[in-house]
Point group: C2
Chain length 141, copies 2
């Protein structure tokens, strides 16, 4: 088992960063425009790519406002199924230190490495969105 770890300092308060992770409206601003997400623990979220050629299906395992978001992935990509995605928010210098881990990867494959690069780009895209630079989502569909 291996994991991906990312981290970035965002010049926005933890409640704003939380809204980018815990609401459908927020998630659509930086990840994929094709997002459907509940905002309650035990709810579901779906992230679609390439006109639904690939869809990541998530269960929302935990939501702790301004602090913590956890999803578990149940498909449809076989390498993502079984991974757990954890977001931790810590107030720092008037902004937020955002830490992300995707654990449960079975192997460090080519797809793992490509997803790692995209997560890095997404961390900066989320920062740009929350700091008012309006980058739009990575996947606009």
């Amino acid at each position: 088992m291996t994991e991906l770890k990312h981290q970035i300092k965002i010049n926005a308060a933890p409640d704003k960063v939380y809204a980018a992770l815990a609401t459908e409206t927020g998630l659509k601003q930086w990840w994929t425009a094709d997002t459907r997400a509940d905002s309650k623990i035990g709810g579901d979220a779906e992230f679609g790519f390439d006109k639904r050629g690939m869809v990541f299906h998530m269960k929302i395992d935990n939501l702790d406002p301004a602090k913590h978001v956890v999803w578990s992935c149940h498909g449809d990509h076989p390498e993502w199924a079984g991974t757990v995605l954890t977001w931790d928010l810590t107030p720092q210098d008037g902004g937020t230190m955002l830490r992300f881990t995707q654990s449960g990867w079975k192997a460090a494959t080519d797809f793992y490495a490509m997803c790692n690069s995209t997560w890095g780009e997404l961390m900066y895209r989320m920062k740009d969105y929350l700091e008012g630079r309006e980058p739009g989502p990575h996947w606009k569909q």
Copy 2:
């Protein structure tokens, strides 16, 4: 020991991707404007950040045109010193599959996770540069 792995498909030929990694002019377009780099095996490279508040000192361990670039880091950041940075280029569909590994990290620290996010952003920035979108370097100094 742990390592960072990144990968991206670039719509540019391997010799163009190689020039972005093996020449000072190329490196300045996507990483840091404060780059000084030899273009021969055994030579040195320096990457400066925050007005030389931090400088990564590299030895150029291998250069295989259009295929392979290896650097070893000798400072000045204590977590980077001792890491080895390997770039592998493979022709694919008229472009290049670019694989990157930074091995030899002693631990998966906060700085490791922040560098991982920045490497992801840099992979996309290099792609943007090589595909003609002129993003400029991440650190413009």
